[in-house]
Amino acid sequence: MTNPKGRFGVHGGQYIPETLMNAVNELEEAYNFYKNDETFNRELSELFNNYAGRPSRLYFAEKMTNDLGGAKIYLKREDLNHTGAHKINNVLGQALLAKKMGKTRLIAETGAGQHGVATATAAAFMGMECVVFMGEEDTKRQALNVYRMKLLGSDVIPVKTGTATLKDAVSEAMREWTSRISDTHYCLGSVMGPHPFPTIVRDFQSVISKEIKSQIIEKEGRLPDVVMACVGGGSNAIGTFYNFIEDKEVRLIGCEAAGRGIDTFETAATISTGKLGIFHGMKSYFCQDEFGQIAPVYSISAGLDYPGVGPEHAYLHDTGRAEYVAITDDEAVNAFEYLSRTEGIIPAIESAHAVAYAVKLAPTMDKDKIIVVTISGRGDKDCAAIARYRGVEIYE
């Protein structure tokens, strides 16, 4: 029997160097205490409401609904949070927890830069030191976010190893953590890595589905038929799904990044193309070759450009409770432009993957059905990259 700790079916676990074991054990113990601590929860709610701007709006996208002519579409506006994405939910929780644990320094990995910006923000706000690891390739794709992190007082370390993207930033943050543990908390940005991270991050992000549930009941008097979100590591998706998992009538759909297509090598669609493996502290699905070498994945979206998926998603896939679909770069870019034009909302290119599937799905459903799409972040950061994708050179 393998380690039962932090398992979702066969997935999850704690596949990390011995050097880090006491650190994750200490984190687990602290989390188990504070998650039921009244003061901690009150402080976190304060931060959510007064600093991050929660609850985020559940917006009825009437124009999009009418244009597509099918199910009613609601958008969960995580893009309206402070710092422009859902990442702040998890970061405020972890930073507060780290502070209670007596840590004075936060380290983080970032892909698109949204988690890095959120961590830098929390560190500035709470008076903590902060170092963010970011693939060199991503520092170019997301130069504005690099500047934002520095403006907030963080160091940004460009990671040059491997594919110089998100997976390499995670590896480098893990390496950094093994070298400096006593004062440092690794503020992991997604529902991945070793236990207890997938559980902690999920719990902090589950505020999304908690709010959707009460908001949709208020507006429609019933639960939605579908909730959907984009999936890289999967934190906004698990946050969107979590409080609906027991409501079997609600379909849960995760939208992965197919890159140039799941039949090409330039893809990051882990559930569609990966196989079971062990990497970055967890057992889950990973894009890899026949000898277990992690594949160099690709997506236009730096935030979804990761060769693995969180262990709870792997489990929801195994059990069939959630469905996972793959969306290409082209489809995502079309959706990015579509939502901007139709609703006046520029979504993050990550979130555009979920919008793209909503555009496909809504017309196939009756008008009395309801879809909730989580807009995990805002797209300002992506404008230059999308312009380049369309052949327009603009400079930030």
């Binding site: 700790k5 704690q14 596949y15 011995e18 050097t19 093994t178 543990i181 079971l276 493996g277 000898f291």
Partner: protein, 257 residues
């Protein structure tokens, strides 16, 4: 008795690490033979992994060179089979969990047995996760090597009690790579290990000079050196074997002093 323990019968043991296929398997073979001729007691053979999260830049570089050179798990098994025709000292594989898992744990471990590998060093398999591979290691008579780190503290006794082959003591926090100074109180760690097991222990991470190797050998039963050897390969490429032979001789002398 485990075959690995033979490595500790010849005074203090010296365990060189080398990444298979850096820059090619022919050079790896020559380096291993040079190391054995010059007194190596056990060889730690690295199977390269695309994302070696416990390694510093030097060994990361070796992994990339080896993978770019086209080496894979099957080719390494064939290489070990060939090597075993004349290399008699114990050999262990050092790699990452996914390399073993993706090959099929039982297929990988039974092939280890068949080709003459005596144990596995897997830095991303801590005590809590060893059941992933331990049942197959037991079935085929391989030792699954346990790590103890400067942060292990209250975990040392638990790990030591179930250790087999040898215990890999991580000298310092952080990843592999040479260090000018090792500050951890290793005596205290070894003392707790000794209270719990007779399995020999070897210190690795950060050691490069004969003087450091000598000091570490006074504390433990053996010394593991990786990055310093990989650096020689990085510098001399296909001409590395004679330089590695000389280096191994110096270190073996230093640990035997």
């Amino acid at each position: 008795m485990s075959n690995i323990q033979k490595a500790f019968e010849n005074g203090k043991a010296f365990i060189p690490f080398i990444t298979c296929g850096d820059p090619d398997l022919e050079t790896t073979g020559k380096c291993i033979r040079a190391a054995v001729e010059n007194g190596a007691d056990l060889i730690e053979l690295g199977i390269p992994f695309s994302d070696p999260t416990a390694e510093g830049p030097v060994i990361q570089g070796a992994n990339i060179r080896a993978l770019n050179g086209g080496v894979n798990t099957d080719k390494i098994f064939d290489f070990v089979r060939e090597l075993r025709k004349d290399i008699k000292i114990p050999m262990v594989f050092m790699t990452y969990a996914n390399v073993v898992f993706s090959y099929g744990a039982e297929k990988f471990i039974s092939t280890c047995k068949e080709t003459g590998i005596d144990g596995l060093v897997l830095p991303d398999i801590p005590f809590e996760e060893k059941e992933e591979f331990l049942p197959y290691c037991k079935k085929y008579g391989l030792d699954l090597i346990s790590f103890i780190a400067p942060t292990s503290e209250n975990r040392i006794a638990m790990i030591a009690k179930e250790a087999e082959g040898f215990i890999y003591i991580v000298s310092s926090l952080g990843v592999t790579g040479t260090r000018s100074e090792i500050k951890t109180d290793l005596h205290k760690i070894v003392q707790v290990i000794r209270e719990n097991t007779d399995v020999p222990c070897a210190i690795g991470f950060g050691i490069s000079t004969p003087e450091q190797a000598h000091q570490m050998a006074e504390t433990a039963d053996g010394v593991i050196i990786g990055s310093a050897i990989v650096r020689i390969l990085e510098k001399y490429g296909k001409d590395a074997p004679e330089h590695i032979g000389k280096y191994v001789k110096d270190i073996k002398q230093a640990v035997s002093r």
